[in-house]
């Protein structure tokens, strides 16, 4: 039985490994990762301060324990350098390995802007546990953090940092937080609540320069204003890691292009999670990864299975204004009906025929999540 090789030990990699081992305990399983392979949950990074977690205690299990649990060989701190889909082989830190089936669960890179200024390189970004450890080290014994990006990660980190006593500035060209997920009124309620938690907002402006200044940095914004801070966190989005797939001749678009059964354009090469694009969808969230992991495990175990995505609302972990949102699929026409009160925002997106296509709930309205979710059509039925 040819080996199943999984590249990446994030939620995608470990979920497909765990689900596969439920179906097949014989086929050899090799996992390869550039980091040290701890099993941790990335969503938990966004409220680790509030939950009293450190980078060490965020790791639920070490690679060694996962290897035993999954009966897998896990190679840590190694780099996947090339894939040869014809020969079914790959170069890993200079060593040539062969695979029967290969799963790419390599995740995404934080988008980096190249800004002017002598400290633009000093901006931090967080998309895994190693990044987070570096971030926590940078903010320890400091007081001020500036976050570029008022999206999901930017808002969650801002809330967590404020709760831990940091002075937080958030800068975004959009004029309300979570612009891609929330309609304006729902975004403004989030803005008010986070301002109440201590966030200083700089919306409708971008960062133009980052320069060293005293022991910290000075950010110059597009309106000419300046702000000083101790640490700069860039949280402006993710770019799926597709280079290796492209170099191997696999078709890629925003992510590694895969079919409904998560198969890439090359036989026996699959992809899931933040690096994959399934029918135009790149969904860097936990629930889609769980769905894909289960479907791909069955396919790897010999029963080709298409992934299905029910409606999957995204929970925004901002305790100052808990929010759950199911964005209407891109290109859906219809409009938002919004009811906004001081303690709750209920925004429903209905199409021309009046059927529900998306929602955004804030504050106490999040209790309606399950009922409204049942009304939504599946994303990929």
């Amino acid at each position: 039985m040819a080996t199943v090789v999984i590249v990446g030990t994030g939620l995608g990699g470990y979920t497909v490994a765990r689900e596969f081992r439920k179906l097949d305990r014989e086929t050899p399983l090799l996992m390869v990762t550039a980091d040290s392979g701890e099993f941790y949950s990335k969503p938990m990074l966004s409220n680790a301060l509030a939950s009293g977690k450190t980078p060490e205690t965020l790791a639920n299990a070490e690679a060694k324990q996962m290897a035993d649990r999954l009966q897998a060989d896990i190679r840590t701190q190694v780099t996947l350098q090339a894939i040869d889909p014809i020969a079914h082989s790959m170069a890993v830190s200079g060593e040539r390995l062969t695979y029967g089936k290969l799963v790419l669960a390599v995740g995404a890179d934080p988008v980096r802007l190249d800004l002017a200024g002598d400290a633009a390189h000093a901006m931090l970004s967080v998309n895994d546990l190693r990044d987070y450890a570096r971030f926590r080290e940078a903010v320890s014994a400091r007081r001020r953090v500036a976050i570029m990006g008022a999206g999901l990660i930017g808002c969650e980190f801002a809330n967590d940092l404020c709760g831990a006593g940091y002075s937080v500035d958030v800068i975004d060209p959009a004029t309300w937080p979570l612009p891609r997920l929330l309609p304006p009124q729902a975004g403004e309620s989030m803005q008010r609540a986070l301002a109440g938690a201590g966030v200083h907002w700089h919306l409708g402006r971008a960062v133009d320069r980052v320069d060293k200044c005293n022991r910290g940095y000075r950010l110059q914004l597009s309106d000419g204003s300046n702000l000083e801070t101790d640490v700069v966190l860039s949280a402006i989005g993710l770019r799926p890691r597709t280079d290796l797939a492209r170099q191997a001749g696999l078709s890629t678009n925003r992510g590694v292009f895969v079919s409904r059964s998560l198969q890439s354009s090359a036989a026996d090469v699959y992809a899931l999670g933040d690096c994959a694009e399934v029918e135009g969808l790149v969904l860097p969230y936990v629930m889609p990864i769980m769905q894909a992991g289960r479907a791909l495990a069955a396919t790897l175990a010999g029963e080709e299975t298409a992934v299905t995505y029910p409606a999957m609302p995204v929970v925004v972990k901002t305790p100052a204004w808990p929010t759950v949102v199911a964005p209407p699929p891109a290109g859906t026409d219809g409009q938002w009906e919004v009811r906004s009160e001081s303690t709750a925002v209920r925004a429903l997106f209905r199409d021309a025929s009046g059927s529900l296509k998306g929602f955004a709930l804030g504050g106490q309205a999040i209790a309606e999540k399950n009922a409204l979710t049942r009304e939504l059509p599946p994303l990929l039925g």
Partner: protein, 56 residues
């Protein structure tokens, strides 16, 4: 009554409250949740749940 936290996404299941909107009555013990129950926020299944008991 105990509270359990999903280690994947941080969702808390509180036995005292149950999940009425999912038809799970208050007071339902963790062991009595149906085996195919999954975390409402992230879909992690109960069987592979590494729910961590947190103090009430």
């Amino acid at each position: 009554m105990k509270r359990y936290m999903c280690v994947i996404c941080g969702f808390i299941y509180d036995e005292e409250k149950g999940l009425p909107e999912e038809g799970i009555a208050p007071g339902t013990k963790w062991e009595d949740l149906p085996p195919n129950w999954s975390c409402p926020d992230c879909g992690a299944r109960k069987e592979d749940f590494e729910m961590v008991e947190v103090e009430a």
